[in-house]
């Protein structure tokens, strides 16, 4: 126990030391942080706004209702709002409707699904393109369940990292990396500590303090991993063999496990189960990187960039744009016992999150948070929105359902770029051609397959209302007068050789291929 405290102190002081430099550097904020965490939402805005004032910037206006509705749906539910949701949200006159929507989405199963998709992408190696879909499904199911029950983040990570043979989902984290301690250690430190330590695999890290020793002794926590010879039924099984050691490269020297940056050896584990030994420190409040990395990732999810950016460079916290805010959020997350939903709730309710991304004039830097910046949709967000609002094929039919899953995978594989941040658009001509002429757009715009075209044909609509419905479905807002006029002119243009349904398909094509449809506003 004494050992544990020493450890903690060593960490805490080191961390505070880094942080103090950062605070000195920023030295612009003199606030009384709300240490009791009564009003964390307000406190976040206070940090942001004080910094804006110090930099002579003005905060942008609040987003419009339609803009907010599309944003919060895409961010929390992973999909654009259904048409009727936008209509209802805009016409709702009761106060507090934004907070109510946030609450409702966080409690909906869609939030759990969206988080599961996000995490499965983050957890698997970037080029793991050829995974059997039922394997992937077992991982997503495990994750979905964890997010649905809102398992505290420390428990979640602990359970994830110590999963073994009878949990085929999480073990994919190891099997897709061939149970190689080097790959697993790199991924673990990036994901859960926010530290890209893998550069130290071959040489001491050029910009930060990590050495090759740090890397290899950390990787030693995964030295026991092995993949047993497997039959066809037993996929993605790993086991831990006590006594299996990792040696330093080109040497016989055994790497003794050490927590990152900690001199003292870890407390022995009763059965010498090293992964468990690691999680006792890793997913705990005494490891300051853990909570900081988590809140930084949540921030990046909602704002498109981390307070420390890239998100796996938490160790260079000196370069955080708002170091005090990051530290505050980290403390807050610990104080609410790693309640992930609560953290999302708190940040989503800030003014900073709810500002507009619209500006025709001056636009302050993204990292000022004076305005929201548009985030490029992930392939899944785009595909699911198109599927839900435009194609609308029922998933009750099993064949249809698996066809949809297949199309979604194909689309995601074509569009995937794990290296890009949401503030970039990394696709090229090839992807643009695939968007315009690919099978998804065919389904969305052909009268036989597009549920939206069938829907707008309802006799109680006039053409203006039909145009409205198409706008709501594709870009989650009502069209303005100009837009209505243009679309009506197109529908009425008799020189165009196309049926009415084909013309509706064309309007869908136009909107589904706009930049507006590719971003979260």
């Amino acid at each position: 126990m004494a050992n544990r405290i020493v450890l903690w102190l060593a960490f805490a002081t080191q961390f505070i030391a880094i942080d103090a430099t950062a605070a000195d550097r920023a030295n612009k904020v003199a606030a009384n942080p709300d240490r009791s965490f009564h009003n964390p939402t307000g406190q976040i805005d206070l940090w942001i706004n004080q910094r804006l004032a110090a930099d002579g910037e003005t905060a942008g206006e609040q987003s419009s209702d339609a803009e907010f509705c599309r944003r919060v749906w895409l961010d929390l539910a992973g999909v654009a709002p259904p048409i009727w949701e936008v209509r209802e949200f805009i016409s709702d006159k009761e106060p507090g409707k934004r907070s109510r929507l946030i609450e409702r989405l966080l409690e909906s199963p869609r939030f759990a699904s969206h988080m599961a998709t996000r995490y499965s992408l983050a957890l698997l190696p970037q080029d793991a393109g050829l995974l059997a879909s039922n394997d992937l499904e077992s991982l997503t199911t495990w994750l979905r369940e964890a997010f649905r029950e809102n398992k505290p983040y420390d428990h979640f990570v602990g359970a994830f990292l110590t999963a073994s043979g009878d949990e085929p989902g999480p073990t994919m984290f190891y099997t897709t990396r061939d149970a190689d301690p080097v790959k697993v250690a790199s991924a673990t430190s990036r994901l859960f500590l926010g530290i890209g330590i893998d550069c130290a695999q071959c040489h001491d890290h050029p910009f930060s303090k990590w050495t090759q020793d740090d890397f290899w002794t950390f990787a030693a926590f995964f030295s026991q991993l092995e993949i047993p010879e497997q039959g066809m039924q037993q996929r993605n099984v790993v086991r831990d063999r006590v006594g299996k050691e990792l040696t330093f490269p080109e040497s016989d020297r055994i790497a003794e496990p050490r927590y990152l940056g900690v001199e003292q050896p870890p407390e022995p584990d009763p059965t010498d189960f090293r992964r468990r030994q690691l999680t006792i420190w890793l997913a705990s409040r005494s490891n300051p990187y853990f909570a900081t990395a988590a809140v930084n990732r949540v921030w990046a999810h909602l704002f498109g960039r981390g307070l420390v950016n890239p998100v796996d460079e938490i160790d260079s916290i000196d370069y955080a744009t708002h170091p005090e805010l990051l530290r505050y959020l980290s403390d807050y997350f610990i104080s609410i016992r790693f309640d992930l939903k609560q953290l999302y709730r708190t940040i989503a309710k800030t003014d900073a999150y709810q500002r507009t991304s619209r500006s025709t004039t001056h636009r302050p830097a993204a990292e000022s948070y004076a305005m929201m910046h548009t985030k490029t949709l992930s392939p899944e967000q785009y595909y699911d929105s198109l599927q839900q609002n435009v194609i609308r094929s029922g998933t009750s039919d099993i064949a249809q359902g698996s066809q949809t899953i297949f199309m979604r995978q194909q689309f995601a594989q074509r569009m995937r770029d794990s290296g890009a941040t949401p503030l970039e658009y990394s696709h090229g001509v090839v992807q643009a051609l695939g968007m315009m002429n690919g099978p998804e757009m065919m389904s969305a715009t052909a009268e036989q397959s597009s549920g939206l075209i069938a829907g707008v044909n309802a006799p109680f609509y006039d053409d203006t209302q039909r145009v409205e419905v198409i706008y709501l479905a594709c870009v989650s807002r009502y069209p303005n007068d100009d837009e209505v006029k243009r679309c009506l002119a197109y529908l009425g243009d008799e020189a165009i050789e196309a049926t009415r349904d084909e013309k509706f398909g064309d309007l869908i094509w136009v909107l589904a291929n706009t930049a507006e449809c590719f971003v979260c506003p």
Partner: protein, 432 residues
């Protein structure tokens, strides 16, 4: 004035360029000039499965490892290779045969990735395929087509075609082969997503585009942000391509049957023809695969299979070089012949050869390459490289130099780390 393509064909060969009619010459020069402005080109001829060096370019006749296939004298004194590559044998002065390749990757997927990137497989850095890196490095802004087009890529190693750290913008456009090759018909090659549902010249298309254009302008005026601008730029380039004549490059029916037959009717031959048409239109990087998945993976019946593959290879490759040369394009186009590894000197009990990365052959040809030479040597029993040893990285560095791209050119990872295209060493004897 007309001319007979057949009569020209019979005269195809390095020396035949002088015999061309003036009109044809002019036509070819116009196409060539367009290509000159676009700079250099590179074609990778990918031998999926791992081709047998001992039965193609590094033969050991009359030895225990030699097998039944025979050598022939080529147009360069002293250079001998398989008699089943007769047309290539007539243009050996264009080839630099590299007999000293050696790697540690004996697995198809890993070997394909290594031989496409020249860099460590599976390390922390996602290295791009050489085609992605070269298409990024060679300027081709006037080219109405994608910068890297890959014909019939081997499906087992998608990572071998990955743009990696360069991002999906630099991913290859795939051309797929329709059905299995049939001896009687030309292989049908199809490009993904190049045909819009609405005909380009119709009023419908134009009015629809006008609506899209206004929608983009409106959104950009209020959201002038990097990702929005990038989406708009990429879409506009894609639309230019759709609306241009450049995509006719993919329509092989524009060629006469005689020309198509000279290349060979199969996927590889027709792919080589497509490569020529793409290079004419300024595309910097083309890859054509031979071996329908893993065709060169000759664990059994090696010699018959290699014979038949060699015929396809000979027709496609030799015709491609001749036609490029006729158009003045070969001197600007570097060709790399490679597979994931070589095959064992030992012949197994199924008359096959197994995977052998220790010592095998690749070939460079065309622009920037000092042809008419053999570089490197394997032991008499083929078991190891005894001279002119080259690793995958050296091959890529040498290829870059031949294409006139600095192999030390750096690209940034997403976390700002500079990564050179290749850290290998350029084999100076091989490049001009």
């Amino acid at each position: 004035m007309t001319f007979s393509r057949r009569s020209l064909l019979t005269r195809i060969g390095p020396a035949s360029a002088f015999g061309m009619s003036m009109m044809r010459h002019q036509l070819l020069c116009q196409a060539a000039e367009a290509a000159t402005q676009a700079g250099r080109h590179c074609i990778v001829l990918w031998m999926a499965g791992g081709p047998s060096q001992l039965d193609t370019f590094d033969m050991k006749p009359q030895t225990s490892v030699g097998g039944p296939l025979k050598e022939t004298q080529t147009s360069v004194p002293g250079i001998r290779f398989s008699e089943h590559l007769p047309k290539l044998a007539q243009q050996a002065e264009r080839l630099a045969i590299l007999r000293g390749l050696t790697t540690k990757e004996g697995d198809h997927t890993r070997g394909a990735i290594l031989m496409h990137t020249g860099n460590k497989v599976d390390g922390p850095v996602r290295y791009p395929a050489i085609g992605c890196a070269l298409s990024k490095a060679i300027p081709h802004s006037d080219c109405p087509l994608p910068g890297y087009i890959s014909v019939a890529p081997a499906p087992i190693a998608p990572a071998a075609y990955s743009p990696g750290l360069l991002g999906p913008k630099f991913a290859p456009t795939h051309v797929r082969s329709g059905a299995r090759d049939d001896a009687d018909e030309f292989a049908s090659l199809k490009v993904d997503y190049l045909t819009p549902q609405v005909p380009v010249r119709s009023r419908r298309y134009q009015q629809r585009q006008a609506l899209w254009d206004l929608a983009q302008q409106d959104f950009l005026s209020e959201r002038n942000l990097p990702n929005v601008v990038a989406q708009d730029t990429m879409y506009r380039s894609a639309l230019t391509m759709l609306e241009s004549d450049g995509k006719n490059a993919f329509n092989l029916a524009e060629e006469t049957d005689q020309v198509r037959e000279a290349y060979g009717k199969g996927t590889f031959g027709q792919g080589c023809l497509m490569a020529r048409r793409l290079i004419e239109r300024g595309v910097p990087m083309v890859e054509v695969a031979l071996g329908d998945g893993l065709g060169w993976d000759t664990h059994a019946d090696n010699f018959e299979q290699v014979k038949s593959l060699s015929q396809q290879l000979d027709n496609g490759w030799a015709t491609l070089m001749n036609e490029l040369a006729e158009r003045g394009l070969l001197e600007r186009t570097t060709i790399l012949w490679a597979g994931e590894f070589g095959r064992t000197p030992t012949i197994n009990q199924n008359s096959g050869r197994d995977h052998f990365p220790q010592a095998f052959t690749c070939v460079l040809a065309g622009g920037g390459v000092k042809g008419g030479q053999v570089y490197g040597e394997t032991a008499k029993d083929g078991s190891e490289v005894v001279d002119g040893r080259m690793e995958a990285g050296d091959l890529m560095a040498t290829l870059c130099r031949a294409v006139n791209v600095d192999p030390q050119l750096e690209n940034m990872t997403s976390d700002g780390r500079p990564i050179k295209i290749s850290e290998g060493k350029v084999i100076k004897d091989v490049v001009v």
